[in-house]
Symmetry: C2
Subunit: 196 residues, 2 copies
């Protein structure tokens, strides 16, 4: 592949994708050029379109092409409840449950000091501003139950409680459909403490 500058450039460009190393990038480039050139063109177009037209919702910070997203504009939504999630994918998961009718705030990440992600990067200031609009009565923290997700929830909780807001967290407990025997001990302990 010594003289294929465009091929090498493509392999290098594919490596910016998360989880793609040199071997995967070569395989992808090879697949696209050999079997799916039309797909490569579509992907190029989709990348350009998304990079120019997708922006953040002014209110909830999720991805949208309008200034304010459809969820924030929906008059049927309960404006007294604000659910804080890490990513638009998490928001989509919450929506699929059909159990939540309030609004969202999407952090677009979680606190991870080692990766240079601090309170500023996850938009803590904007979240506080959003939560203190006078309509929000309860902030539901739905960040992940990983170490970083918990740290993020803790930081947000402290900041909001200081401003007199009612803050709750998704319940920890035994997942639906699981047998106790196979559930990890930390989860059972939490489910026991939080019993109702």
């Amino acid at each position: 592949m010594a003289d294929a500058g465009a091929l090498d450039a493509l392999v290098q460009a594919l490596r910016i994708l998360p989880g793609v190393g040199i071997k995967s990038a070569q395989r992808m480039a090879f697949h696209l050029l050999q079997r799916d050139r039309a797909g490569a063109g579509q992907l190029a177009l989709a990348l350009q379109t998304a990079a120019t037209s997708v922006r953040h919702c002014e209110r909830c910070h999720t991805f949208t092409e309008a200034p304010v997203c459809a969820t924030c504009l929906d008059p049927a939504r309960d404006r007294a409840r604000l659910c804080v999630v890490e990513t638009p994918a998490d928001q989509a998961a919450m929506e699929r449950t059909g159990a939540y009718a309030g609004l969202y705030f999407v952090l677009m990440g979680r606190l991870s000091p080692l990766d240079g992600v601090g309170p500023k990067e996850i938009g803590l200031t904007q979240l506080i501003e959003r939560a203190c609009d006078g309509q929000v009565q309860e902030v539901i923290l739905a960040t992940g139950f990983t170490a970083e997700g918990e740290a993020t929830a803790h930081a947000i909780s402290e900041a909001l409680k200081r401003r007199g807001l009612h803050v709750t967290r998704l319940a920890r407990g035994v997942p639906v459909g699981s047998e106790l025997e196979y559930v990890d001990l930390g989860t059972i302990a939490h489910a026991l403490v939080d019993r109702r």
Copy 2:
């Protein structure tokens, strides 16, 4: 993500990459839009450039931007030897050994009837034409040692031998640096049969 048509389009477009499912595609789209829009633009450009400018070498069928690749044009190469490999990546591996000075023919695949890859798709006709140019004295089969690679080597070998060409195959044997105790039995058996 209900109203982000461009985002959904990007996620769908990313799924054409081999080994990328819906979750990986979402992660990639999210990463690009949130952290690396410049990279997304570069990737789009690299895809377009490669899809339009990369083609196959007229002689060896590898990827190149010129009608004939630099390897085929190199006057220092031994024109009596032709090495048959599956992919440009395999060709690059052969080159890195520094042990081969002949020319190549790149199949751009291997026989795989279940995936619709037959003799026509791997360019068997072109290979026979290329090998019967009067200069080639030995065809070295360097397809993989998988079931499909072996089948490909067998089919090519039969076709070329019928035309009176001298066909060889890379040696099977114990990998350099390995202890016999940990080498699989098939490999040891082959190394024993092919001892020298």
